[in-house]
């Protein structure tokens, strides 16, 4: 069964004619070519498919596309403004928080959402916030450093 689904992604509206047994992840990647959102496990474990739904990180691999209707979706492609990277993207690059880059879109969006909600996030809060985003390359050290560098909490490194 197909139907038109209206999605608001990165402040733009998209109308997608799609079967309803699809996840937001599939529609983002296959129909809208927003391939910055990655499929790492498809089962909600790894966090590579993280997008922001009304500002909060969620697993797009577990979200039916129909459930995303009427919500504000932000993907990694929507973070930079007019060609200028968001400070969280700059921080990830500067701190060498990116190696292979597969987890990076999800990790960056998670960090972005955390700092929006809690600009004074401590190291422990950062580690908790990214606890559902698996990185196999970095050991998380530089990822935590990158997010921490933008936190206004006292005693940051």
């Amino acid at each position: 069964m197909k139907r038109n689904v209206i999605l608001r992604i990165n402040n733009e509206e998209y109308t997608v004619l799609t079967k309803t047994n699809r996840t937001l992840l599939e529609v983002l990647r296959e129909d809208l070519h927003l391939t910055g959102t990655k499929e790492g496990c498809g089962e909600g474990v790894c966090g590579s498919c993280t997008v922001l739904l009304d500002g909060r990180p969620v697993r797009s691999c577990l979200l039916l596309v129909t459930e995303a209707e009427g919500r504000e979706i932000k993907t990694i492609e929507g973070l930079a403004k007019e060609g200028r990277l968001d400070p969280i993207q700059e921080a990830f690059i500067e701190h060498h928080a990116i190696q292979c880059g597969f987890c990076s879109p999800g990790m960056i969006l998670t960090g972005y959402a955390l700092l929006k909600e809690n600009p004074r996030a401590t190291e422990e809060e950062i580690r908790f916030a990214i606890s559902g985003n698996i990185c196999r390359c970095t050991g998380y050290v530089k990822i935590v450093e990158a997010i921490r560098s933008l936190s206004t909490s006292e005693g940051r490194r």
Binding site: G36, K38, E77, C100, S131, K142
Partner: protein, 761 residues
Amino acid sequence: MVDYALIGKGIRRVDTTAKATGEALFSADLKLPRMLVGKILRSPYAHARIVHIDTSKAERLPGVKAVITGKDVPDERWGVFRYTQDQRFLPVDKVRYVGEEVAAVAAVDEDTAIEALKLIDVEYEELPAVFDIESALKPDAPLIHDAYPGNINISVDINVGDVEKGFLESFYIREDAFEAPEDSYFQGEPYAVVAHFDSSGNLEIWMPNAGPHLKAKPLSNVLKIPLNKVRVRKITIGGAFGGRSEISPADVICAFLAKKSARPVKIVYSREENSIATRQAHSMKATIKTGVDREGRVLARDITCYMDGGAYSSTGPIAVSVPFLCMEQAYRMDNVRYRGYRIFTNKPIRGMFRVHGRAFACGIDLQLDLIGKELGFDPLEMRLKNARRPGDYTPTKSKVVSCGMVEAIERAAEKARWREKWDRLPPYHGIGIGCNSVQTGFPMGIRGGSQAFIKFNEDGGVTVITGIVDNGQGNDNMIVQIAAEELGLKVEDIQLINADTEVTPSDPGSYSMCETFVGGNAVRLAAQDAKRKLLKIASEAMKVEPERLAMRDRKIYVIDRPQEAISISRVVRMALSRRENISGEGSYWPKVDSNREWVTNPFGQLSETFSFGAVIAEVKIDPETGKVDVLEVTAAQDVGYAINPKVIEGQFEGGVAMGGQGGMLSEKVLWYGGRVLNPDQLDYMVPIAPGMPKINDIIVETNDPGGPYGAKEAGMSVAMSAAQAYASAICNALGVYIHEFPLTPDKILKAIKEKEEGKNR
């Protein structure tokens, strides 16, 4: 200390902006016009004869554009060596593990492809199967390959010095057995391939790879097309960690589907397929007998090691040898016998892994702790007494040119405050050390060298062309940093074309830890070649001998009169107006013994140089749950020279996570017969951010005379020695030595209980 403009600086990586914005394309992100979705039918049996395959129903399903079975693929067998070629990309006679490729379809969309797979009828005749080393070695065990009697895939026997005499002269001898189940890569990116033939019969193919040329050759063989028609393209790669070097059946299947359907085809593996149908690491049992003198110096060692290789040879001879080689490099052992066996079982195929041989390496190190305990030396002393030193030869006759093992151990010990802490920690706290050494490549015959080209544009900008591949570790950046340094340019002046078999020259690949050493040297030589041409022209224009000129900040200047300078772009234009082009070529072939062979002649220079690392871990154990809290880890490694220290730190930190936190605390494959119970990161417990320890990175530099700027390997030593340090620290905290890894909470709690019961008895 040389004053470099870029080398030795932790500059931003050139590849990470695209990765931070979602712009970087991985294989699964590609979309070509008219592209089809490919899916693979996998064997539900661990060992079965394929009696008949009927694809007719699948072929009739609307939307299906191609169906292939083993009959569609020529009988070319894969194996890294001529004598291990045992795997057909699609088997015709029998399947040897659950998940082996049996047939494949290409269809207009994924749902149709999945439906088509269900319409393929395969008649199997199930055969008895074996799932562990002991069963596979029984005289009546089912034979997995006719060519390998007794299911013994590879035997390596190395006997150096006089082991018997060494034991006779020993003051103390002990024998211990260590074992560990399989571990797995869990790269961030699941495997994916896109293949496309043009009307001239050229294959374009994208896949995560640890060496595009190593993928191209078997594709050329099986497709019966020349190498210049196989275009393995550059693509962003989501990790390799020792895997992804070999051809994958998916590569071949995708190419044949594309050929048959005459359309581009994309195959994307699920996480589960990535865990069962690409390589995994070996399970291992190592028995180690070591004799030492009164001072704790090793006089003799006798090691026997069995590895479960799964259903096919893969990198067999290398896999059997590397755990031993790492240890013979790390520690002095003049009289040593090593017997290594890789055994076939009906399990998915095992390959090389960044933490390859944790049972082996942890066994060697833990046994040093145990010996030290008998003789009254702490683990640190035991490591220092036996550490490899520069100028030594390894037992298998490699000269060790540069070696910072002692410095790595000492600096790690100082930073970790070992001497204050040893024997003074509270109950259930422990500290431990692990040491390792890794090759920077090994003899690879005609594929052992790397070549690079450099081309100058009239505006002074440069394009570098090299076969070096980046799996995520930062190799692209390494190339650019070297080229920019040599040519006195800015990073943004360098364009990179790499890892594309159509245009880039041969390169050994990144899996043997040689990209910086071999590939980096080639890039540097190519830059120096172009530089020589520029300096010649500049010297004529400036009327100064070329030796007195240098390049920096886009200028050529007189070394002792820096204000006398001329822009590089101007010199390039001068050259062009003289009808001369500015370009450079560089080749590097590591000085290795090309007669060395893994099984028949395991002697001679294995690698031009070796890295050496030491990791110290401090842990606290919850005695009620057995859960380990890792307080601090100090990782020190002789990397030769840090071209980009931030990149090196990233390798160390990732190594501690993979080898120590994951490799020693939680990571293991769970089995139900030949089926993997935990193909996901939920039950295969890769590390997550909470619980990771504080990590101190110590970069030790010995300036290897052969390395580019003195650089060696940086990606593997720490991962290995972290596993060893964790094991050593946990056993120190427990006061009990566990011989089976990883040290999961249940095993630790059991050890605590047994110890308490022992006390109460």
